[in-house]
């Protein structure tokens, strides 16, 4: 009985607690989901409460007085039985239509939505805004619809953003879509779970919602350097993005690879004994197939960047390397 009292207390307080039950609301659609959730929660709580009271009442009222006593109203009442069919039928129709409203809104993205591709892999999600802008942390503008196209690399994954009441499965063989409109700038939890539990179980990350103007400038800073910067400066950004400075300095000192300082026009002895002058063709060849011309005294450890850099980007890198040599010769 005490357990039952506890449970009743739980169900009475549940609708009150519901505001604390659901996570914070940070998107347009979240309010619809919460409203529907509340309606269902109140219904369910009332139904369970009613069940408990009815059972308690019936048992207490009809306790057996004598072992030979038999029940006095077998069969039940036909009218009530009819109601027990009609009322839930009406409820079913109401719930289907209530759900459809919210679901259609949540399924069909506005045509002007910002398109973002989400790729799920072993190490988590990466988000692609255009061919050149890709991040591991999802950044979105507030008060502007965003359409996510999801794709999983090798096994089904799920992406969930509780504050947006968003949950979508991604699959290897086809793209799926979801959209949302964040309402408040801030940082929110992004949960991801893999169908396979090893490794990818329940990773979590964040989604950053920026005010529209801030988002635009963020995207600009992330977008194509070839369009936004002069070639030499774009080359510098690309060299840093690809991690070249780990092995190549710009001050003349020697690391795993030769320094970039004064590289252009320098003639070097290669590992096979031949001599080569570093011109544009030499640099391009070194980026795409580094093992083919290793300078004597260095190990052939540089990875190829074939397929990772476009021709125009290699041109920008050459322009940057050339600018390094010019600044040295200028004085």
């Amino acid at each position: 009985m005490r357990a039952r009292a506890l449970l009743i207390a739980f169900f009475v307080t549940a609708p009150v607690m519901a505001q604390g039950w659901m996570p914070e609301v940070a998107s347009l659609g979240a309010q619809t989901v919460d409203r529907d959730f509340m309606i269902l929660l109140v219904l369910a709580a009332l139904a369970v409460l009613a069940l408990f009271f009815v059972v308690d009442l019936l048992v207490v009222m009809n306790l057996r007085q004598d072992p030979d006593q038999v029940g006095t109203s077998p069969g039940g009442v036909r009218l009530y039985r009819l109601l027990a069919v009609l009322l839930p039928l009406v409820l079913v129709i109401a719930l289907v239509s209530m759900g459809v409203h919210g679901y259609i809104d949540a399924s069909v993205a506005p045509t002007d939505a910002l398109a973002v591709e989400a790729h799920g892999g072993q190490s988590g999600w990466s988000f692609r805004y255009s061919e050149d802008v890709e991040t591991d942390i999802l950044h979105v503008p507030s008060e502007r619809p965003v359409r996510l196209t999801l794709h999983a690399e090798d096994k089904p994954m799920t992406l969930a953003i509780p504050a947006f009441r968003l949950r979508q499965n991604a699959r290897p063989e086809a793209n799926t879509e979801a959209w949302f409109e964040a309402s408040l700038p801030g940082e929110y939890v992004l949960l991801s779970s893999g169908s396979s539990l090893a490794g990818s179980a329940g990773m979590h990350s964040i989604v950053t919602v920026l005010p529209p103007l801030e988002f635009d400038s963020w995207l600009e800073s992330k977008s194509d350097v070839l369009l936004t910067l002069p070639p030499a400066e774009a080359g510098l950004v690309l060299v840093e993005r690809k991690g070249c400075p780990v092995c190549h300095t710009t001050d003349g000192s020697r690391l795993t690879g030769p320094s970039f300082l004064g590289l252009m026009g320098r003639s070097s002895v290669l590992a096979d004994g031949s001599t080569a002058v570093a011109d544009a063709a030499y640099v391009r060849q070194s980026i795409l197939d580094p093992a083919s011309q290793v300078v004597e005294g260095f190990q052939p450890v540089m990875p190829s960047f074939a397929g990772q850099l476009r021709d125009a980007e290699i041109d920008a890198i050459i322009a940057y390397l050339t600018s390094l040599s010019e600044t040295r010769e200028a004085p």
Binding site: A3, R4, L7, M22, P23, V33, L40, A47, V48, L51, V55, L58, V59, N62, L63, R64, D66, P67, D68, V70, G71, T72, S73, G75, G76, Y80, R81, A84, L87, P88, V92, V96, G99, V100, G102, Y103, A106, D154, K155, P156, T158, A160, P162, R167, N169, R171, P172, E173, T176, V189, L191, S193, S195, L197, A198, G199, A201, G202, M203, H204
Partner: protein, 534 residues
């Protein structure tokens, strides 16, 4: 047969009660084993940094927990234990229609038990818990063995379904028409019809998965294939499997409530219609799990409607069950309390299904812990409470021993409190977007983890109390009365009728006025006018 040693005679037995006792042992062993794996999962969630076991062992525990409890415990519990124990005598048959097939059912069940057990000992199956084959998935022999086990379990359920259906249809006493049989027989029949479909799907799934892992054949995994096809087939088995558990369990609840109220179940044949409707709807229930897979809105509306429609027959059954209490002569017994547990678990499980089947909320909650709690209440709660209710009710009939009322009530209370505390918090965590085994920990939810751990402890205690109650009753000398509850269905009346030389019982199910209590033997006996000499 007399010359056979005891073990051989047990192996060759076709006695349905004997077979059911072994199957009861297998099902209870599966429950205890599955609970062990659940304790590993709970301990992990409680441990600091959640680092008790590594990800592989954790995934393996989840897989084993799910496989053991769904396939070795929940699905076989009703047909293999309750069906085998009481169904033939309930319809006035001496045994199953095919007694030898019943023995084969037992042997297949034991074989699949052994295969799954060896698979679990053989190594952590840290695949997804559905054993979904992946593009890069390596084939491991434990998974191949488990797949073979699932195949044999499919055959187990298929042969048991055939036997149950044939027994009800062809071996029924001539005095009993299909419209007059007890509600449990309707539930068992509707459940067995679904079981036949589920079992064949399970047998095919198990065999294909076995080929995938045991040979180099590519069936579901690999680059050209679709692991989702596998998951959809699995979801079908899981959703329709809920009907395999619940339809007989609802029947058990009706028998117990009718007997302890001493009046016929309200609603009469409308219960048969409702059980049949639930059976049909359960076949389309898995569609709703496609909610986040990019299926068209129109398709999802249809699936939502199919899933939600189950509310109609379910409400009718609940109403009829409650109306059976109205004006009854109620005795609060351990069996009745367990039946009320069953009603509560199914009601909570069913109501949570509304959240998942309504498209707007369902799209957010599918696949989260909310979904998992829904499954635990319907499939887990239905199977556990269904089994304990049935055992408390039929134990005196089957073993001739009485259980202790106090222990039975204590067990019911612990099961009730433990189950709610262990799984209600999952509804809250699921609403927060969490899925099973999420590493993400929210400090605000830490108290919920403690509640879940407390509930799991109480639940385990309850299971142990109940197991001890049944086990210790076998050690007592005192014999139970032939019909202590005053039940009116045929399985209780065999001896009553046989004891009157050359006479036969003429009472119909739920004719409670035809029985009177005899205080000398503490049992209900037929009123003289109902015993006719031939």
């Amino acid at each position: 047969m007399a010359s056979d040693p005891a073990t051989i005679s047990w192996w060759k037995t076709t006695d349905h009660v004997r077979i059911a006792r072994i199957q009861l042992g297998g099902v209870v062993a599966a429950l205890l084993l599955g609970v062990q794996f659940a304790l590993v999962l709970r301990a992990q969630l409680l441990s600091p940094e959640r680092s008790l076991v590594d990800a592989g062992a954790l995934g393996g525990s989840l897989t084993s927990h799910a496989l053991v409890l769904v396939f070795l415990f929940a699905l076989p519990a009703m047909p293999l234990v309750v069906g085998s124990l009481v169904l033939p005598s309930m319809v006035g048959a001496r045994d199953f229609a095919f007694p030898a097939l019943n023995r084969i059912t037992l042997q297949l069940y034991l074989a699949s038990w052994v295969l799954l057990a060896v698979a679990m000992i053989g190594g952590a199956m840290d695949t997804a818990w559905r054993l979904t084959p992946m593009a890069d998935g390596a084939s491991t022999w434990p998974v191949a063995l488990a797949a073979a086990g699932l195949h044999l379990l499919g055959l187990t359920l298929a042969s048991s379904a055939l036997n149950l259906l044939a027994t009800v249809l062809f071996e029924r006493s001539t005095h009993l028409s299909l419209a007059e049989v007890p509600v449990l027989v309707w539930g068992m029949t509707a459940g067995a019809a679904v079981q036949l479909l589920v079992s064949t799907a399970l047998a095919s799934l198990g065999m294909l998965l076995f080929f995938e892992h045991a040979t180099s054949a590519t069936v579901f995994g690999g680059l050209a294939a679709d692991p989702l096809a596998y998951e959809r087939l699995f979801d079908f088995i899981l959703h329709a499997g809920v009907a395999v558990v619940l339809l007989p369990a609802i029947g058990v609840a009706f028998e117990v409530v009718a007997t302890f109220s001493r009046q016929a179940p309200a609603g009469g044949r409308s219960n048969a219609l409702a059980l049949g409707a639930l059976a049909l709807l359960s076949l389309g229930g898995s569609g709703i799990s496609l909610l986040n897979d990019g299926v068209s809105v129109a398709t999802m509306v249809a699936y939502s409607g199919i899933s939600l429609l189950a509310l109609v027959p379910a409400t009718l059954l609940l109403y009829n069950l409650m109306a059976t209490l109205v004006g009854g002569a109620i005795e609060v017994s351990a069996a009745l309390l367990h039946a009320l547990n069953l009603v509560v678990f199914i009601t909570i499980g069913g109501l949570s299904g509304l959240f998942l089947a309504t498209l707007s909320t369902g799209a957010y909650l599918q696949g989260s812990l909310f979904d998992s709690a829904h499954l635990h209440f319907l499939l887990g709660g239905g199977a556990i409470a269904g089994l304990t209710t049935a055992l408390y009710y039929w134990w005196p009939r089957l073993t001739g021993r009485t259980t202790r009322e106090l222990w039975g009530r204590l067990g019911a209370g612990l099961l009730f409190a433990g189950y709610l505390l262990a799984f209600l918090p999952d509804f809250v965590e699921g609403s927060r977007g969490l899925s099973t085994l999420a590493v993400f920990s929210n400090p605000a939810l830490a108290s919920l983890e403690a509640v879940k751990a407390l509930g799991t402890g109480i639940l385990v205690l309850g299971v142990l109390v109940i197991c001890w109650d049944f086990f210790s009753s076998l050690l007592h000398e005192s014999r139970a009365a032939a019909n202590p509850w005053g039940a009116t269905t045929l399985e209780w009346l065999e001896e009553t009728a046989a004891s009157e030389d050359g006479s036969e019982s003429t009472i119909k199910p739920y004719d409670f006025a035809a029985l009177r209590f005899d205080p000398r033997i503490e049992s209900y006996v037929l009123v003289e006018s109902n015993v006719v000499s031939e």
